[in-house]
């Protein structure tokens, strides 16, 4: 059968089981938008390529499938770069397809030409420039294989216009032949046995669970390992929902704004079992002072993560699902031989004591300014089963702290890259992928303004979700740092409560706009918002601009120096003492 390169592209996407793509057409990608009309694939027309990229990410986070974004050459591809970098840092499976100028003029500074494979090389797992129509199907097949296996990540396929137009004979490549790509899936059994023995013998163990556990769909295995082994669990920002927050073994989020119990449990542990986590600086604080007494078992599918930041005593390369299942079986066997779980009552009592003495806290006065944490807690009470998406900053930390996650893939955010503006388009993608579930974007006012245009997409494509803007009129996290570490010298952080008017802006986009300024208004506004299901809703929560995010481990400080609240602050007058980001 004769097909054009563009037809081959859609046949290949259909062959990969794609049901929805996010994109914007343009000159070089034009030939691909014609066969789209005959395809079963739904195209969501975004308003900015960055939005299409984050939407593809949100879709991938929520569904576990590969998200697809399509853009034209030059500026189209360039606008995808932030989303690709975000997906690379957070290991999000994503395929980006970009148009390119025709092959005879590649390298000629043609109109809308950019060397997008060159530009995206460091921010993709892999990318390729396709040179003949006969290679289109193979390239897309390889892209999906690479994006979704091993450590997932973004792959970009660049398709020149003449390649899209020219004809070829359709052939579906059954097998992917990549001699240099063979992810290690199975964990080494001998290493697993040593690890199980080490866990059995530990007095103060902690499971340090990262996003890899969710990526590997290994949360059931994790639950068995934790509960049968009676092992406390911390879930990093990337792993919220990997283990139910309601469980007595759950310690919540560790790290710079993590809970006291989670942070300190890691500091005092004699064994950390890192499962799909990467000892990121936001988790470890000052690396030399991190978990000084702990031995390390490090399980990761990416060998480059092992030993990168902290030397592992027992490294295990493999897929989290396989390794955790093996670890569970082995530990169970050892426990049966040893007549039960070792006595760690003292450790568990200590953890419980920390949790009770140092919970997340805030003070909402009835007649005082509206507190951001209060808004998030009330949202949680009304919509516990929602998929929560956040941007980056204070609101992100509060959302992670005060929402209680019970299931995987119900928390979506930008962790590694810290991309402001992630929430609205990612919520669009999540809602498109999970049409039967409630999606709530908890966003900051600064973040919201970076990508708010995708509300138009939400309206025109009928993909509704709720956006709760935690509007403190500032770039709040930067303001917090200036208050704490720059002697309250506020520089370029004020945005304004009412420019833009978020209610009017929502209405202009065809969404419903609501506002709450006082604590007593919050419940009614949330109830109103949740009663609307046929279109998007934006809530403008006007909150206290002075509220700061605690606990906090200042950047570069030891996790032992965790500040649990404003009363624990000491003035930093010597600029040399100010932490580096």
């Amino acid at each position: 059968m004769k097909v054009t390169g563009a037809q081959a592209m859609f046949k290949a996407l259909e062959g990969e089981g794609v049901d929805i793509v996010f994109g914007i057409p343009g000159g070089a990608i034009l030939p691909a938008y014609d066969p789209l009309l005959d395809s079963s694939i739904r195209h969501v027309l975004c308003r900015h390529e960055q939005g299409a990229g984050h939407a593809a990410e949100g879709y991938a986070w929520a569904t576990g499938k590969v998200g697809v974004a399509i853009a034209t050459s030059g500026p189209g591809g360039c606008n995808l770069v932030t989303a690709l970098a975000d997906a690379k840092m957070d290991s999000v499976p994503m395929v980006a397809i970009t148009g390119q100028v025709p092959t005879p003029v590649v390298g000629n500074d043609a109109f809308q030409e950019a060397d997008i494979t060159g530009i995206t090389m460091p921010v993709t797992k892999h990318n390729m420039l396709v040179r003949t129509p006969g290679e289109v199907a193979e390239a897309i097949r390889e892209a999906f294989h690479i994006a979704s296996t091993g450590r997932p990540g973004p792959v970009l396929v660049d398709l020149p216009k003449d390649v899209l137009i020219a004809e070829t004979t359709w052939e579906w490549p059954e097998n992917v032949d990549l001699p240099g790509y063979k992810p290690t899936m199975k964990g080494n059994l001998r290493q697993v046995r040593s690890a199980a023995r080490m866990i059995l013998e530990a007095k103060r163990p902690v499971l340090y669970v990262g996003g890899g556990v969710i990526k590997a769909n290994a949360t059931k295995e994790l639950f068995k390992l934790a509960t049968d082994g009676h092992l406390p669990v911390v879930t990093t920002l990337m792993a919220r929902g990997a283990f139910p927050d309601s469980h007595e073994l759950a310690l919540g989020m560790p790290g710079m704004h993590g809970g006291y119990a989670a942070v300190t449990a890691m500091q005092k542990a004699d064994l950390l079992v890192a499962l799909g986590s990467r000892f990121d600086d936001r988790v470890t604080g000052k690396l030399d002072a991190f978990a000084p007494g702990a031995k390390i078992i490090h399980v990761d599918i990416d060998p480059a993560e092992i030993g990168k930041n902290r030397q592992a005593d027992i490294p295990i390369v493999g897929d989290a699902k396989d390794v955790i299942a093996k670890l569970h079986a082995e530990l169970k066997r050892l426990q049966e031989e040893a007549d039960g779980v070792p006595d760690r009552r003292e450790w568990h009592a200590t953890l419980k004591d920390w949790q009770e003495r140092f919970p997340y806290r805030y003070d909402q006065q009835d007649d005082g300014p509206l507190k951001p944490q209060f808004c998030i807690e009330r949202l949680y009470e009304h919509a516990q089963d929602a998929i929560v998406v956040s941007g980056v900053g204070q609101h992100q930390m509060w959302a992670s702290q005060f929402w209680r996650f019970e299931k995987p893939r119900t928390w979506i955010n930008s962790g590694g890259l810290g991309t402001m503006g992630f929430a609205v388009p990612a919520a669009l993608g999540a809602a498109a992928g999970k049409p039967d579930e409630r999606v709530i974007a908890i966003d900051g006012d600064g973040c919201f303004q970076m990508t708010a245009q995708e509300l138009a997409t939400s309206t025109t494509e009928s993909i509704p979700f709720v956006t709760a803007i935690i509007n403190n009129a500032h770039l709040g996290m930067v303001r917090q740092w200036q208050e704490l570490f720059y002697e309250e010298r506020y520089s370029q952080v004020y945005l304004s409560y009412d420019v833009p008017d978020y209610v009017k802006l929502a209405e202009a986009y065809g969404a419903v706009g609501l506002r709450a300024e006082h604590p007593e208004e919050v419940d009614a506004v949330i109830e109103k918002a949740l009663s609307i299901t046929d279109r998007s809703v934006v809530i403008d929560f006007r909150v206290d601009a002075k509220e700061m995010c605690f606990p906090m481990v200042p950047a570069g400080a030891s996790n032992d120096d965790i500040i649990t609240g404003p009363e624990g602050l000491r003035p930093v007058n010597d600029p040399a003492e100010a932490p580096v980001a």
Partner: protein, 184 residues
């Protein structure tokens, strides 16, 4: 900071040189020399990279290199365990009496004279990096007009080819990491 010689077996695909070089650049390492050429396997090229770097960051770079889809195999050569060679062409000022002296040096070093003019002698030298350095040191007294070097190439000693060898472990790693050496 030590000089390390690394052989990288890659698929002969567009952009693969940029990917490999880019990884070194992104981590701030200086590549001392880089030689690329085809191999006995159709579709595979071999790069020999000489890089100045400490042990720990080198380990990270080789792991990251392994993650590149087009990289098939990496072998780090321990000093003394590999045959290392480089080719150099050098144009030396050698008019009058100097010509004879340059020719004598060429004979002692067993290098070829490939071009002679009234004022210039061009030499072709092959050998271990140390030999080329020693030769250059002597030639500088006459005046080096132009110099081109291929960069180092290396093959590990012994029976096995690069594909049969296991991925080299970093010295000092307390535990062997069990993995196939494939990318992720």
């Amino acid at each position: 900071m030590n000089l390390h010689t690394i052989s990288v077996l890659v698929e002969d695909k567009p952009g693969v040189l940029t990917r490999v070089a880019g990884l070194f650049a992104a981590r701030g390492f200086n590549i001392d020399s880089l030689a690329v050429g085809p191999t006995n396997d159709d579709g595979l090229s071999r790069m020999t990279v000489v890089v100045q770097v400490d042990r720990k960051p080198l380990e990270q770079v080789t792991k990251q290199l392994n993650k590149l889809i087009n990289v098939i195999k990496i072998l780090e050569h321990e000093p003394g365990e590999a045959v290392e060679r480089e080719l150099m062409l050098v144009k030396v000022k050698a008019g009058g009496d100097d010509r004879q002296r340059v020719m004598e040096i060429a004979t002692v070093f067993r290098v070829n004279v490939v071009d002679v003019t009234r004022n210039i002698v061009t030499l072709e030298a092959t050998g271990k990096p140390e030999k080329l350095e020693a030769l250059l040191e002597l030639l500088r007294d006459f005046g080096v007009v132009e110099l081109a070097r291929t960069g180092r190439i290396a093959l590990a000693r012994g029976d096995k080819g690069i594909r049969e060898r296991s991925m080299k472990r970093a010295a000092g790693a307390e535990q062997v990491e069990h993995w196939s050496g494939g990318s992720v």
